[in-house]
Amino acid sequence: MGRKVQLKEICYARSGDKGDICNVGLMAKDENAYKIIKAQVTAEAVKKHFEGIVKGNVERYDLDNLQALNFVLRNALGGGATRTLMMDQTGKAFGNNLLRMEVELPD
């Protein structure tokens, strides 16, 4: 078994809103990191990570050219910035939250 690290060690992230949808862009710091996140940070894993916050589906899109993954989180912001009771009304902190997720480094 490889060593476990949080995504913040191997990635950057930025997130934002469109209505009640939040998207999180996860950028690998290098090629090796991109291989790891492509294999392990699945839409299902992200949906599980945001359990209790994101109510809808999670979709993943791959940007191989940028070594980045884009996650689209539906029904994520308590109705959207204009009506939500959440502190993070525009989902700006979702990216940092995802950087908490653990992945396993290959041996």
């Binding site: 950057y12 992230a13 930025r14 997130s15 934002g16 809103d17 469109k18 209505g19 009640d20 949808i21 998207n23 862009g25 996860l26 950028m27 990570h49 945001f50 359990e51 209790g52 916050i53 979709e59 899109y61 791959d62 940007l63 191989d64 050219n65 940028l66 980045a68 884009n70 689209v72 029904n75 308590g78 109705g79 959207g80 910035a81 204009t82 009506r83 009771l85 959440m86 502190m87 993070d88 700006k92 902190a93 940092n96 939250n97 908490r100």
Partner: protein
């Protein structure tokens, strides 16, 4: 090869002014984009127009233009802005008045109309358009029809290009996309075959517009590399140097703070986008998955390989409707037993709200400093906390109900646990405007251009 330099003056309502002046003076730009409209902004502007028919546009943009118009006029910098908000004509009249005050004779102002659909809604509904909600899947706008305060289509570059061809120095629109402010100039300058072809090049302009349109977020703002950003307090605004062949260089005002590199550009490429192969804009569809980024010098990133597809048959429409109020208040509890006290405050308020019969549609408590942002994923505190700020937020149907939240929290100063403090003057209830995102066939939204002269 022919190129143009487009500078970002504003990327959002309430942004920095100094870099917006600096870019005009030192950016060596030919175009200046001024963007102000978030989803909620337009609703606020519609409300302002309803109160006073001469208002409903971005007043701050007029103050800014007063400071830069003489320089723009002498350097020949063309200005494109969606500062018109809910009232583009009133905005244009005010800008013309300011230009006359400044003695700037002969400037041409293009006003773009047609995005505001509110007065046409009944006609659309009679003709069978139902405007299904893209977020919730609800099929008919009927339920909220009476509460609608705004309905604007996101329009593209068509009438802006017409305005440039008619010699406009300043173009003022309502809800044009942020993006179109940077798509119109290259179409006009390079004579691209649009909207019939040249989709890769238009896709490139859309991509470039997306990279720069928010201003600071591509010059070092909002970045995971925040520790490395030089002199962020005088952060520079971005400049897109667009080439005729559909390549670009992203840079910023020379000598300004902040930074531009492949990381800052990457950060923004993934921002507020969904399917990166299909970034839908009224002017075309950009594909972000083929492009290449390259650091070619200090604060200079070359973007090549951008692709695009024909523009969609529909336009996005954002409608906004009145949807009650939010009442919120905060207090601070302190060591010892800060977390336990926070839980006590929550229990206390929940019971108080029952006693006074508060009619809440939704209620939320946050322990700021503990888990208010990352929720269930936040690490539980391992040691005793020094303090916790407790926030309560409640959505209600009426303002009177929301006011009850405001009135209850000062009671904690008398009835709460030892050391409860920091109540101050809780905020007044804020009105909630919910959004109804939907689509409309493009041919239903013809835009039109009115040319005026200073």
């Amino acid at each position: 090869m022919k190129k143009i330099r487009m500078g970002v003056g504003s990327g959002y309502w309430g942004g920095l002014i100094e870099p917006a002046i600096e870019i005009v003076e030192k950016g060596d730009i030919q175009y200046l984009g001024l963007e102000y409209l978030a989803e909620v902004t337009l609703i606020i502007l519609h409300k302002a127009r309803a109160k006073d028919p001469s208002k409903g546009y971005i007043l701050e943009a007029v103050d800014y233009l007063r400071r830069v118009l003489p320089t723009c006029a002498s350097k020949g910098i063309k200005i494109i802005s969606n500062m018109g908000g809910a009232n583009p004509m009133a905005a244009a009249d005010e800008v013309i008045r300011v230009a006359r005050d400044l003695g700037l004779k002969g400037m041409k102002v293009g006003v773009v109309l047609g995005d505001d659909l509110l007065d046409r809604l009944d006609d659309f509904l009679e003709r069978g358009l139902r405007f299904p909600n893209l977020d919730t899947g609800e099929e008919d706008i009927g339920r909220v029809r009476e509460r609608l305060v705004a309905a604007n289509a996101y329009i593209g570059a068509d009438s802006m290009v017409d305005a440039l061809r008619a010699g406009a120095d300043i173009i003022i629109t309502g809800r044009s996309t942020d993006n179109a402010l940077y798509v119109a100039p290259p179409i006009y300058e390079f004579g691209w075959d649009w909207p019939n072809g040249d989709w890769d090049r238009v896709g490139a302009a859309i991509t470039v517009g997306h990279i720069v349109e928010c201003a600071e977020p591509v010059t070092g703002g909002m970045s995971c590399l925040w520790k490395e950003v030089p002199e962020p307090w005088r952060i520079g605004h971005p400049i897109a140097e667009m080439y005729e062949d559909g390549t670009a260089i992203i840079t910023k005002t020379p000598g300004s703070g902040g930074m531009v590199n492949t990381w800052t550009v990457k950060h923004h490429l993934v921002y507020e986008s969904h399917d990166p192969k299909n970034y839908l804009m009224p002017d075309g569809i950009a594909d972000f998955t083929s492009l290449k980024l390259e650091d070619i010098g200090p604060d200079m990133v070359r973007v090549t390989g951008m692709k695009g597809k024909p523009r969609p048959a529909t336009l996005k429409v954002c409608m906004g409707y009145e949807d009650g109020y939010i009442g919120e208040a905060e207090c601070t509890v302190t060591w010892p037993d800060a977390l336990e006290k926070a839980q006590w405050v929550e229990k206390f308020l929940r019971e108080r709200f029952k006693i006074i019969g508060l009619l809440a549609e939704e209620m939320r408590f946050d322990y700021i400093g503990v888990n208010s942002i990352h929720g269930p994923r936040a690490t539980p505190p391992k040691e005793e906390l020094n303090e916790v700020r407790v926030r309560v937020a409640v959505r209600t149907r009426t303002r009177a109900e929301a006011l009850k939240v405001r009135r209850e929290i000062p009671i904690l100063m008398g009835a709460g646990p030892a050391g409860t403090t920091g109540v101050f003057d809780p905020p007044q209830p804020r009105a909630v405007w919910s959004l109804w995102p939907t689509l409309i066939p493009r041919e239903e939204v013809p835009t039109r251009l009115i040319m005026k002269e200073v």
